[in-house]
Symmetry: D2
Subunit: 357 residues, 4 copies
Amino acid sequence: MGQTPVAIVGASGYTGAELIRLLLQHPHVELVGLYARKSAGEPIRRVFPHLAQSKLIVEAFDADAVAARAKVVFCALPHGDSAVVVRQLHERGLTVLDLSADFRLRDPAEYARWYGHGDSGSPHPEPALLEQAVYGLPERHRERLRGARLVACPGCYPTSTILPLAPLLAAGLVRPDGIVVDAKSGVSGAGKSPSQGTHFAEIAEGIRPYKIAGTHRHTPEMEQELALAAGLPARDLHIIFTPNLVPMTRGILACVYATPTDATRPASAYRDALVAAYADEPFITVVDPDQLPDTAHVRGSNRAHVGAWFDARSGRVLGLGVIDNLVKGASGQAIQCMNLALGLPETAGLMGAPMFP
Amino acid sequence: MGQTPVAIVGASGYTGAELIRLLLQHPHVELVGLYARKSAGEPIRRVFPHLAQSKLIVEAFDADAVAARAKVVFCALPHGDSAVVVRQLHERGLTVLDLSADFRLRDPAEYARWYGHGDSGSPHPEPALLEQAVYGLPERHRERLRGARLVACPGCYPTSTILPLAPLLAAGLVRPDGIVVDAKSGVSGAGKSPSQGTHFAEIAEGIRPYKIAGTHRHTPEMEQELALAAGLPARDLHIIFTPNLVPMTRGILACVYATPTDATRPASAYRDALVAAYADEPFITVVDPDQLPDTAHVRGSNRAHVGAWFDARSGRVLGLGVIDNLVKGASGQAIQCMNLALGLPETAGLMGAPMFP
Amino acid sequence: MGQTPVAIVGASGYTGAELIRLLLQHPHVELVGLYARKSAGEPIRRVFPHLAQSKLIVEAFDADAVAARAKVVFCALPHGDSAVVVRQLHERGLTVLDLSADFRLRDPAEYARWYGHGDSGSPHPEPALLEQAVYGLPERHRERLRGARLVACPGCYPTSTILPLAPLLAAGLVRPDGIVVDAKSGVSGAGKSPSQGTHFAEIAEGIRPYKIAGTHRHTPEMEQELALAAGLPARDLHIIFTPNLVPMTRGILACVYATPTDATRPASAYRDALVAAYADEPFITVVDPDQLPDTAHVRGSNRAHVGAWFDARSGRVLGLGVIDNLVKGASGQAIQCMNLALGLPETAGLMGAPMFP
Amino acid sequence: MGQTPVAIVGASGYTGAELIRLLLQHPHVELVGLYARKSAGEPIRRVFPHLAQSKLIVEAFDADAVAARAKVVFCALPHGDSAVVVRQLHERGLTVLDLSADFRLRDPAEYARWYGHGDSGSPHPEPALLEQAVYGLPERHRERLRGARLVACPGCYPTSTILPLAPLLAAGLVRPDGIVVDAKSGVSGAGKSPSQGTHFAEIAEGIRPYKIAGTHRHTPEMEQELALAAGLPARDLHIIFTPNLVPMTRGILACVYATPTDATRPASAYRDALVAAYADEPFITVVDPDQLPDTAHVRGSNRAHVGAWFDARSGRVLGLGVIDNLVKGASGQAIQCMNLALGLPETAGLMGAPMFP
């Protein structure tokens, strides 16, 4: 098996850096190009001193130049900016893994509502491509990802939420209405650009919710995939989602609350459903009933720890999921999708154990 | 107004230290005695170097000696140990502020179930005193606290949860069933004794739930007070409660989710109810609709920030409350109760602004 | 004693916020005006939600308006911007506490070199005022601060360094050459404006030096005061100073290394000199020989913990000092100086104990 | 090349966990046994949930059983306990990488003084083996490590200190007297057992020195290796060493201060000496003159970033070194030594890039 040449567009952000870290270890690909507007001309070791061992130089993006060199491209650009670049690369025949939100929502009207500008929302920039995009959560869409040419890599909150919840909905164990998602994220999810909301002195030693009550853009993405699992139209499932910002750099913990369809069912049924769903999954661990997921247990890795418990007092089900938002929630999952798209072993380059403590 | 002599039993823990910090600034009391088993004989400045300015020496507890010197005592002992000491002090005529859980639950059978040892639970050690104890949440029980001789100071999770939720239940705006409480706490809530679960290297840079699905002892305490607000018997209201451990020292954020009794009511009704309930409260701020509570905004102070929002997508209500778990969640609230019990100005010694950043 | 009306210019930064927090508790002053360019017109409770209890509104600065209302002004502006404002207030007869660097260096040529722009440095903007300014470290210049009308409040690194070191130099116990200062600071010292160097994800879980090898502007300030203590001209004492950025919000630890003038002197002599120097100081604790200073022991307070040890192996002396950079290193010390300038009790409003944990 | 069977004794601590993480990725070895007293019988995935992908079970140590299975053993036991185990394995013909301090000091009298119990110190438990042990810092002792059968892996502070300093001493650029080492470490260096000094609430948001003034046991180890570099007897070089505990989990920053042998030499000479010394080193980066080492840039990797600067004001040299204390400061370096001892490629299993942010 030769090495496939891959490039990264948007290499100067955190998901770009994480792609580089992981791809440098990948046995079947060669990193042949790094592109970023602001850092063009700089050695990547100056942009990211932790990548001191790499000789790569950041370049300004040019679709033809990328196509001449690479067969696969990771796009780690902001939403809105990404769609056009993706189209340029796609029409030049490259396999594209898009880490932005541009191709995640199946319904262009939903995209316009959540990501468009202005009151009614501007329309989706590349609606024609939308149908070709596969939602890049291998545990839910593995078969469609094999050979895919355009992958819309999921958001970090959706990944951590869907993993513990979708199997319960798919098995008809919990009701699709009344779902509560309370998720807690590290600060790296906000990216590399400094802002008041990521300023150390304001974030350390405190926790706070943000974008509450139906205002976070990952809400429709979760609803779309949960509805799909439940066999419902996307607009027939609505959750309440609260993201919280935790004084740590990496990791997401999603706590999901749902109502059983049958409150007299054995308490073990919910965990059993996760065990059945993930028995053959290389990156998912269903924790023992007496263990609890901890973001520290997956840090730096492509792994997810999930679990589900029935609370007899309240008659509710609690699902828990933890991931590293930059790996299974972004760059690692994108590489997992690439492996599937290219027909490589799905775990190639991704079996590094988490870093603890 | 002369200075009332006060003592602290259990002075060598974190709530003890916080009582000392606050009482040293209190204009109407004099700190006359510190008691703790392990540190007896040591100057408090050796036990807690941050209290370098105090000349007090820790002593071994003796009820008669305390009674000879103090009129008011704060008991900051572990549950189980506290009840007997409280009884000894109470029968000697002192006013007792108990920070343990021993007198919080009105029903001794509930105490036995949650705090007793063995299968059926050992009985409450001082059931006769239980009826005299007033639950020390001034915003809910102010009149009964005036002149009280035994105050059961609330737990930190209950304080942060009841403050945003009780007014909504009391006003009949949300249903008492199906309530979800997802709370996030700093590590100081676990106290001063080191353990694997408070070991820096295991806690920093991660978040995790613990004591999930009806196993945390603050659950029945919350249910008791929320049922009271809703006008229900304590055992007719059940919540699902998830505590999460956050990599920070102080602070609790409670996110509470409830179902409106009328989904067509104006969205502003929930915040309005909080504004009405807390209009005259000296320590409670109902945040503006476009602001969000942050534990960093109350750190070191006896203040709580609360809010409530209606999520039209899901038809749910989100309530938020933040406190400093060691102040409004413990020592500060105990002093607020003391002020009421002694007829002092309620805010005496407690108006220090939060420390930010 | 009536309440003196005081104002703060530059109220929207961290030292401004800390001045407000402390002055709201001060028994002898009334906070009558807050000034800041960017936040003019906003209630301070919107700028700093932790100050929810204050009704004050931020205003645009106008020297006449300030003079009409206040007798004392704290200037918490960036260096360069401050000097002109200070002059305007000074010539209107107000007592000014300047927290910027503009009046700290006695020699205007040194100011030009370190703070001026361009190669040769632009000259000091208000050299005439320089002679009237008193360096606001009460432990070194108390008598000159009494009645002072312009106080140049010290930098945070100089405060933490001078306190353990100056008495050793003044007593002739250590040599003025070969001094090494390795100091460690929390991130709040960089102020409220976000930057890459204060971005949570880049700062948490790491430590790094910055502005090394004679490039940090606090270097000449330390040399000036240490030389003064040693009885030398300012330019005859040179230190090597390394500031390090620690993943915490508040606090500075200075580790200073010096060579004894007599290596055969008893090891206790160095601590004894600190004890003698600080015997009557209300805010300085010389730690016991078996204790070690910890920034956590002074957090939120105007206190400093210092110590000195002789290392027999290497024949060197180690001095240690810890402060809260925003309190004893800035706003608290400024209030201490104000108390002296106005003839108030020196400790008024500043006796709050540190917040631990 | 077949896979060499390796075992870990002391697998339940942090350096044990880190060895497992790294060895699971190593292409030329197979992890065949994990030994630990307390966790014997438990699956490693229960001891360390982040190792969920491993099927290995912890066993009680038995030298014969280990020898029957493994050819190489890593000993990650406390000093004192380690020496006997090392001897048992060594006499059974295994290659031993000892991560304890037991074989680091060449002089058994020094060991007795620093690690022995009682006034005069108990003698070294296995003095006969001491001569065979090679100090496991490949950048200083590479040739002796090839084929070595007993490697004394260096302490974390010595590694971070020797790397920037030894080449300057070896080249005669700085004087061996008057060296100051001020180092800053994350908390994981204290190991996995909880204590007051590693309790989250006491460590977060503060920095403090510990074991100052010639009391930290890494002092003689540094002196031994620095003296060797300077061509002096071990007892003729004395440093003053201050370790500081930083609120982070991983990483060490060493700031070293030294006096040039010739103050008129070009300022670039010191960095040049590091560049020359480390030109061919696979794990050492000499940072650009305008960059500064940051522990965040080496986290999780076997890399070290070093640099040296001349401070013209004070006439001193500043050397800086950063490592991940658990990798280049412990487990990674032990694997690097194993690679040399076995004749494997020195970088095998160790080229994973640092994890940033």
